[in-house]
């Protein structure tokens, strides 16, 4: 494909976006070192998450080692105050943080898509009502509101995910509403409506594809954020509960024994790398989709 994504004949937004996104994912990242790093890190962590039971040297819950022993050949990341192997816990932590963060972001995107789609498509008082709800959520810093909600629901990972979904969906709803509003003016959409398509069909079949691209970028950018927020709640004792090997909770345990730096440092590094990885990837996708920077990447 010499001119892969020039939307000449068909003036629709969706094909252009799709093609750009595909181009980014297949070809151009390799010219972008940050994207390569991001993808390598993420793939690495995903592999760890899948293979953790096989590659971890010990059971993450086994309390059979020394108390707070520093890193050694036997325990490369040392042991914590409950005599558990920190390396095994960090590796198993990937099985909690990454899938949950993805689930959380997808949940938020789905809820946001439904609410944003309804608001953008129907307009009027429905739009006003939904947008005021999003304003309400935006009025608070995300982590503070998430803390309040999960404290009200009670500590636990599922409640933390729920609380964060409540905090994160308005961001998607806003973006999607805007996209639906602008794409809704396109002639093919008007044509489809004139032909008698139902609202559901217009939203999903006609408008869905043009909304998908930007939302994908948002999702990729948000996974890192979601991992941070989830770990943050766990750090505060509102997310993962003992004995779960969750990174935020492990960092929190590390703060109680500051001199045994290995207890908190390694899970902290895990959070750092995986969040950076997702951010690099998200940034690259965003740059590729932004007309101002996309050309530079693709040429």
């Amino acid at each position: 494909m010499s001119t892969p994504a020039e939307p000449t004949a068909d003036p629709t937004v969706d094909t252009a976006t799709d093609a750009r996104a595909i181009g980014v994912l297949t070809r151009s990242p390799w010219r972008q070192p940050l994207a390569v790093i991001g993808i390598v890190v993420i793939v690495g962590w995903l592999l760890v998450a899948v293979l953790a039971p096989m590659i971890a040297p010990a059971d993450p819950l086994a309390q059979t080692f020394g108390k707070l022993s520093p890193p050694s050949a036997e325990h490369p990341f040392g042991t914590d105050n409950l005599n558990r192997d920190v390396l095994s816990r960090v590796l198993h932590g990937a099985r909690i943080s990454i899938p949950l963060a993805m689930l959380l972001v997808v949940l938020s995107a789905v809820v946001g898509a439904i609410m944003g789609g309804i608001a953008g498509y129907f307009g009027g008082w429905v739009d006003a009502a939904i947008m005021r709800v999003t304003d309400l959520v935006f009025a608070f810093p995300a982590i503070i509101l998430a803390m309040a909600v999960s404290a009200a629901l009670g500590p636990g990972l599922s409640n933390a995910v729920l609380a964060l979904t409540i905090v994160l969906w308005p961001g998607y709803a806003r973006v999607i509403r805007g996209l639906v509003l602008s794409a809704g003016q396109q002639e093919y959409v008007q044509a489809s409506r004139l032909l008698g398509s139902s609202a559901l069909r217009t939203l999903t079949v006609e408008l869905g594809p043009s909304v998908a691209g930007p939302v994908l970028v948002l999702v990729a950018l948000d996974v890192g954020n979601a991992i941070l927020l989830l770990s943050g709640l766990s750090f505060l004792g509102l997310g993962a509960q003992p004995p779960a090997a969750e990174w935020g909770a492990m960092v929190s345990a590390g703060t109680a024994v500051f001199d045994s730096w290995w207890v908190g440092l390694f899970p902290g590094l895990a959070i750092l790398t995986v969040v950076l990885g997702f951010n690099f990837l998200g940034d690259t996708i965003r740059d590729a989709l932004d007309p101002r920077t996309a050309r530079a990447i693709r040429s």
């Binding site: 309390q63 409950l82 505060l236 004792g237 003992p242 004995p243 500051f258 001199d259």
Partner: protein, 534 residues
């Protein structure tokens, strides 16, 4: 006591810690230097995380309040050093108890004077005690059923409705410090029924101490710091060494740095793990078992759980827990509690009577119980570290211990307030909680009996064990010290056989202090006697 929650600390505290850390990074070296001269020393800086509501003894029952009230207000009786078994005369030169344990007669010294020069008389004692009762603050329960009268200026008589052999052990509590009745009354104080509304003296008592103690209140800020100044006219034999004592509200995470840098000469809240490797030429570390008890309650009520109320299941849990492992988790200074009454109190069980882990016995008991898929849900407060130990860590360890025996433990963490409410309802299958002694006497532990305040929380209701109830009644009214001790030991041994409470361990109390300071000793009633520091 479990009912009086320490500060629920989570996010806010973490944030406060960071702020304090930042603040302290900027102002290093600004703390009080101790001019080590002959005899009197200049200033002592003490860092502790404040648990402080008031400096008014009638309203104060929190740790920090007890520390400061103890040196500002003398009591009729006191304890020496870390001893908790021999109440010693202080303001009272002697006391006598009637054979039935209902009447206690105290003879006062005649050389005790308040800061303003007035002599302390029996009128002040009656006023102080009545005020504690009628203000209805946290400590008012100490004098429940006790009436105070003064036949003459030198004599005070306490009359108890019920035999009260523990009263001499309650009297030294800092909340029962004696105030200057004329001065407090002038400041709006009231000791009559209805004082909970009528008494207005708290504000004045937060500005100025009106007691006979070795220290006076110089300034008081419930958020940041309390400054005590030596009482130049102190009547007692031990004149205070430090001219000023500054007690600063400091998060535990910062205390270590402060004592290392010399910003503070004494810090009170380090955990055993935090104090590892802190001892050096300039810093001393004392870690001793505190009187706080961690216990596991296993519900005895069949309506709550057929599993946990099964006697054999209880035995399996009791012998399945690795007590030594929990002590190790607690860190240096922690020690297994043989019974519910901590080591060092009258009637404490000898250490060799403690339950030892026996996995084979636990497995046998479990098999005998006939419970299919044995499991227990253990609830605990997730946001309330005690002595630097997260209760979740203890619960996690218990879970791992019982897994070896074949019992599945489901952990049910919740915020302290919610968790305590649920525990109080008596409907929790299992609960991991802690108990601070209200006063150093085994009678404070009668609540663990069937139908007692705590017993009910473990589903152990009135009449569940007639033998123990009878033994408890006997112990509660026995006046002879040795017989009392024997009765309480017998009681605890039976509790260890049949009771739904599994005493786990006493976590350590760590004091880290500059090597220029001496006389540091832990006492459960006032944590530390600042006037004893040299």
């Amino acid at each position: 006591m479990a009912g009086r929650l320490r500060r629920v600390q989570w996010a806010a505290l973490a944030a406060a810690g960071l702020v304090a850390l930042a603040a302290c990074g900027g102002g290093g070296g600004g703390g009080g230097g101790d001019a080590t001269g002959g005899g009197a020393k200049d200033t002592l800086v003490v860092d502790t995380a404040f648990l402080l509501k008031s400096a008014d003894p009638a309203r104060s029952f929190e740790t920090t309040g007890s520390i400061i009230d103890h040196v500002m207000y003398d009591t009729l009786l006191t304890f020496d050093g870390s001893d908790a078994t021999n109440p010693k005369p202080l303001v009272a030169e002697k006391f006598e108890a009637s054979a039935d344990g209902k009447t206690f007669t105290f003879t006062l010294r005649d050389d005790v004077t308040f800061g303003d020069g007035t002599k302390l008389t029996s009128k002040d004692v009656v006023y102080s005690y009545n005020r504690v009762k009628n203000v209805k603050g946290n400590p008012s329960f100490l004098l429940e059923g006790v009436t105070t009268t003064a036949p003459d200026a030198k004599t005070v008589v306490l009359t108890s409705e019920k035999p009260n052999p523990g009263l001499p052990y309650i009297i030294p509590n800092p909340a029962l410090g004696i105030v200057n009745s004329a001065k407090v009354a002038a400041a709006g104080g009231n000791d009559q029924p209805g004082a909970d509304q009528a008494d207005k003296a708290e504000a004045a008592l937060n500005k100025e101490s009106m007691g006979t103690g070795p220290y006076k209140l110089e300034s008081y800020d419930v958020q940041s710091e309390v400054v005590l100044a030596a009482n130049p006219t102190y009547w007692g034999p031990n004149k205070p060494t430090y001219q000023r004592i500054v007690i600063r509200n400091t998060d535990a995470s910062v205390q270590k740095v402060n004592v290392q840098k010399g910003d503070a000469q004494l810090v009170l809240d380090l955990s055993a793990d935090q104090s590892q490797g802190l001892a050096s030429d300039s810093v001393k570390v004392d870690a001793t078992a505190s009187k706080t008890l961690f216990y596991l309650a296993v519900n005895a009520n069949p309506e709550v759980s057929a599993t946990t109320s099964n006697k054999d299941f209880l035995e399996a849990v009791r012998y399945g827990i690795d007590y030594d492992g929990l002590v190790q988790l607690g860190g240096t200074g922690s020690q297994q509690s043989a019974g519910v009454v901590p080591d060092g109190f009258l009637g404490a069980l000898a250490k060799d009577k403690a339950v030892k882990r026996d996995v084979a016995r636990a497995k046998a008991a479990l098999a005998r119980s006939g419970v299919a898929n044995p499991s227990i849900k253990i609830s605990y407060a997730s946001d309330l570290p005690v002595a630097g130990i997260a209760i979740g860590d203890l619960a996690t360890r218990v879970q791992e211990n019982l897994k070896e025996v074949g019992i599945t433990v489901e952990l049910a963490p919740s915020p302290a307030a919610t968790s305590l409410d649920a525990f109080r309802s008596g409907k929790e299958q299992g609960a991991l909680w802690f108990w601070y002694p209200d006063y150093p006497d085994p009678s404070d532990y009668l609540v663990y009996l069937p139908g007692g305040n705590l017993g009910k929380r473990a589903g152990w209701n009135e009449g569940a064990d007639a033998g123990l109830t009878e033994l408890g009644a006997q112990a509660a009214s026995e006046m002879d010290k040795d017989k009392r001790a024997a009765l309480y030991q017998q009681l605890q041994q039976q509790l260890n056989e049949r009771g739904p409470f599994l005493p786990l361990f006493n976590p350590s109390q760590v004091f880290a202090y500059s090597s220029s300071v001496s006389g540091v000793a832990y006492h459960s009633a006032w944590t530390i006697d600042l006037a004893d520091l040299r």
